[in-house]
Symmetry: C2
Subunit: 120 residues, 2 copies
Amino acid sequence: MLIGELAERAGTSPRTLRYYEEHGLIHPSRDANGYRQYDDGELRVVHEIRALLADGFGVDDIKPFVACLRAGNSSGHVCPDSAAVLRRRLAEVDGYLDQLTAVRRRLQTQLEEIKCQMTP
Amino acid sequence: MLIGELAERAGTSPRTLRYYEEHGLIHPSRDANGYRQYDDGELRVVHEIRALLADGFGVDDIKPFVACLRAGNSSGHVCPDSAAVLRRRLAEVDGYLDQLTAVRRRLQTQLEEIKCQMTP
DNA sequence: CCTTGCCTTGACGCCGGTGTCAGGGCCTAC
DNA sequence: GTAGGCCCTGACACCGGCGTCAAGGCAAGG
């Protein structure tokens, strides 16, 4: 499978797949003419990558998940390294949630102050 | 008051104050030698700007708040334009909260799957 | 042969608030 | 006169995932 086909099947672009490769997430072989050649299993990997990116992981965080998948596991997050990244990201998300919640509270307070001033 | 003094009093840097000016948030006068001259009221304005930035507003969003303050209001968010921006930002924050909450749920689910596999 | 359509590498752009460096002017104190 | 500390403008760097353009190779069909 060439890069264009994999990109289309994964719902993304060739540029994006080359970017993943550049960052060590996928390692396609090459045809005699230099074209990247992907086997069907890579589709699964790319889907995993994109799911993790959508959950806010960075490309470097994703490496252990891909390695875990390639090691034959049914999902990429059952390995110790992946689990560590998962826990780190969970803590990070919790931090963001706290910050956003605080912001939300301030915004709401300010909006209520306005309403009070409208009927003094 | 020169830019360095205002920066220090506001807990920021001259570079940052010039950036705010470049984006229309503050309009200092100039000394004969070209130095920016700030009066004491600007300290309040800069504090307002920084509080709004910390709550995730962009510099363009902040303009109505500054205008509101300059119009003599006790706080920058009591004017209709500011209130509109506040509501927009609140909706945005709610959106982010929803997304982050969904991500958090997925992360937790995956971590629990791991625990289950550890004691099969 | 020529077009078309895929592929290749390389490189810049984006976004946004700020740090930081370059190159130069003003002012005060010694 | 000169050293030091403030000020000025202008411009590049950052971060990260990807769009997009450039310039060119390869394959197949007319």
